[in-house]
């Protein structure tokens, strides 16, 4: 699995993403050079970037041997119908994108909190990756696959899959620690 920054992204954020994918899914991740051509997706009226357009461009950055490509960005994303999204993924597909713009406490008018930002990042990374593994939203609001449309919902969920979602995700991810992770999930 490959991870790609779009524009400048703090190394700690990238590290967090890679670590949570390894822990939860047993995925080995490889960091690839950042995608710097993103201004085409800018909507000046909304002062945001179009997630569908970025996702489309992302396909060009996908290496031939890349199983999944997850993008992480500081850009604030939208889809035409909605005022913002935390991320977007191809359901059961190869590409996903996560924005950390709205995961920052500063965005909501609070002092920065790096620890909280890392936890939120891990949750959204797992969530969008889960979609690429074919998972849809989970009705367990503590499961990382539950739908978050506001920051409170992001904070309510744990940075982990519920047992049902974990079994499906790990099975689909086929990571090298599959057995170990599945057993840990079932014994919980």
């Amino acid at each position: 699995m490959h991870v790609i920054p779009i524009g400048r992204v703090e190394p700690r954020v990238i590290e967090t993403a890679q670590r949570c994918l390894a822990d939860a899914l047993g995925c080995n991740t490889v960091l690839v050079p950042a995608m710097e051509d993103f201004e085409f997706a800018y909507d000046s009226a909304r002062e945001q970037y179009s997630a569908p357009q970025l996702l489309q461009r992302l396909a060009r950055h996908r290496l031939a041997n890349s199983w999944r490509l997850l993008a992480i960005t500081e850009l604030d994303l939208f889809i035409p119908m909605l005022s913002y999204v935390y991320g977007q993924a191809q359901l059961g597909g190869a590409l996903a994108i996560v924005s950390i713009a709205r995961l920052r406490q500063e965005f909501h008018g609070f002092p920065a909190d790096e620890g909280l930002l890392m936890v939120r990042t891990a949750k959204e990374v797992l969530h969008e990756t889960g979609h690429t593994l074919g998972l849809v939203h989970c009705r367990d609001e503590t499961c990382v696959m539950s739908l978050s449309t506001n920051i409170r919902q992001v904070d309510v969920k744990r940075p982990a899959f519920c047992v049902d979602c974990r079994v499906r995700a790990v099975d689909a991810a086929g990571g090298h620690r599959r057995q170990e992770i599945l057993e840990a999930g079932v014994s919980e």
Partner: protein, 451 residues
């Protein structure tokens, strides 16, 4: 069972359509898209969606409001959400007035839209559970093939069970189409004769000579055309039940023959000399007033008393209207299954129309009406329009002057109908009929009118 709901998104802008569809798919819905109002309507014609998202401004001669009106014609209960780029009070009012469930301005807050979708789906889930529950409940009203919850009809069913193991003759009375044969079969199937044959003979269908041979059989050469020996229905029903439908129509000669079988438990084949014993239980049925026929000398009094040992009276459908939805559901399910159709429900309006109809042909007429509606209907829900062939009475019941009935029968019907209208109120009914209360009581008693 968890239902995967389907959503239709219609917008001429592809990226708008696809991104909303993708977002909804992540929430677990099956989503289809349409790029115009016409395409949305065409898709709605194929199937009903749980939610329709329609963009207000779509080119191609059909905007969101027009598409919504078309879709509502196909699926009156459709949940439609109109999407617009600019909020104007006028379009919002038009959209809501034409039946939009919600009106949203894009870009929309994701929280708002997810709450809206989940709220609609929650209602759909509840409705679906109710439909399943209603179907489950309906099953408890099944006895053999008789479907009812009406107390008088329940009484008929109880009676059928109670007399099932007796040897006595049963006379089932009721108008055409009320299901006399079903009740006869229920008697047969509930008793210790169930393993043996149930043989039905329609006495009205055959001329005297043929009916005689049908009942008692004949020997070879007993009449022209009797090329081989044939066993009669009484013989075939030995150990089981013989059902003689429309017994009021049989000729005086057959009345004598039948009386003999009932008395002697034996008979001769036509042209035969061997006495054949039979242990067939006799259930007879009639829609005519046999007492009247006896009084007029058309029906033997001794035969009448032999037949009328146990009497079961089936009420006409108009006197058990509470069974109409139950029966309609049952027929809709059975007939659509038989025809490979997917009719899942009947609309409230259609139920009301069916409840209001007079049903002179009783349950059989209802069954035929449901079948005809399913054949012509294009949707999964039977609507009022699907029953347009039923004569309308604008709430008032049409009084067709019967030409083949007695004045007494007409009086009886007039009293019964009036009592039904006044919901059993004697004082009101007497006033409507223009007679005094004691006279009305007397007539109710004489005609045995239920109330």
């Amino acid at each position: 069972m968890k239902m995967q709901w389907e959503i239709l998104v219609a917008d001429d802008e592809e990226v708008m359509c696809e991104s909303l569809a993708a977002w909804l798919r992540e929430d677990g819905y099956l989503v289809e898209t349409a790029s115009s109002g016409r395409e949305a309507v065409a898709k709605a014609r194929e199937k009903d969606y749980a939610i329709y998202f329609l963009d207000l401004k779509m080119p191609g001669g059909m905007d969101g409001i027009e598409a919504m009106m078309e879709i509502r014609r196909l699926h009156p209960d459709a949940s439609i959400i109109i999407i617009t780029a600019y909020a104007t009070v006028d379009t919002a009012i038009t959209a809501m007035k034409e039946g939009a469930q919600e009106y949203i301005v894009k870009p929309c807050n994701p929280e708002e839209i997810s709450l809206l979708v989940r709220r609609i789906i929650k209602v759909k889930n509840l409705q679906r559970e109710n439909t399943i529950l209603r179907k489950k409940l309906a099953r408890q009203y099944h006895f053999q093939d008789i479907i009812c919850k009406n107390p008088r009809m329940r009484g008929v069913v109880d009676m059928a069970v109670r007399v099932a193991n007796l040897k006595s003759t049963v006379l089932i009375r009721g108008e055409s189409g009320t299901g006399k044969e079903l009740v006869a079969r229920a008697v047969h199937n509930s008793g210790d004769r169930a393993a043996n044959k149930f043989v039905a003979v329609s006495c009205a269908a055959l001329p005297e000579g043929l009916l005689e041979s049908e009942m008692f059989g004949h020997e070879k050469g007993s009449f022209t055309g009797a090329i081989a020996q044939k066993k009669g229905k009484f013989e075939l029903a030995d150990g089981g039940t013989i059902f003689l439908d429309e017994i009021g129509d049989i000729s005086p000669k057959l009345q004598v023959d039948l009386l003999r079988v009932l008395q002697e438990k034996s008979f001769y084949r036509l042209g035969g000399s061997e006495e054949i014993r039979t242990d067939a239980r006799v259930i007879a049925a009639t829609h005519v007033d046999l007492e009247q026929a006896v009084a007029e000398g058309k029906f033997r009094e001794d035969l009448f008393y032999r037949l009328n040992v146990i009497e079961i009276r089936i009420p006409p459908l108009r006197e058990r209207r509470d069974d109409i939805p139950l029966l309609a559901d049952y027929f809709a399910e059975r007939i659509s299954r038989e025809m490979g159709r997917d009719v899942i429900d009947i609309s409230e309006g259609a139920y009301k129309l069916l409840m209001d109809h007079q049903w002179p042909g009783n349950v059989r007429e209802l069954e035929n009406a449901i079948e005809r509606a399913i054949v012509t209907s294009k949707s999964q829900v039977l609507m009022e329009d699907d029953f347009a062939f039923l004569p309308r009475s604008n709430g008032k019941r049409v009084w067709n002057v019967p030409v083949d009935t007695t004045l007494q029968e007409m009086e009886k019907q007039a009293i019964a109908a009036t009592l039904e209208r006044t919901q059993g109120n004697i004082k009101d009914a007497a006033a409507v009929l223009g007679i005094d209360r004691s006279t009305l009581y007397e007539k109710i008693k004489r005609y045995e009118i239920p109330r």
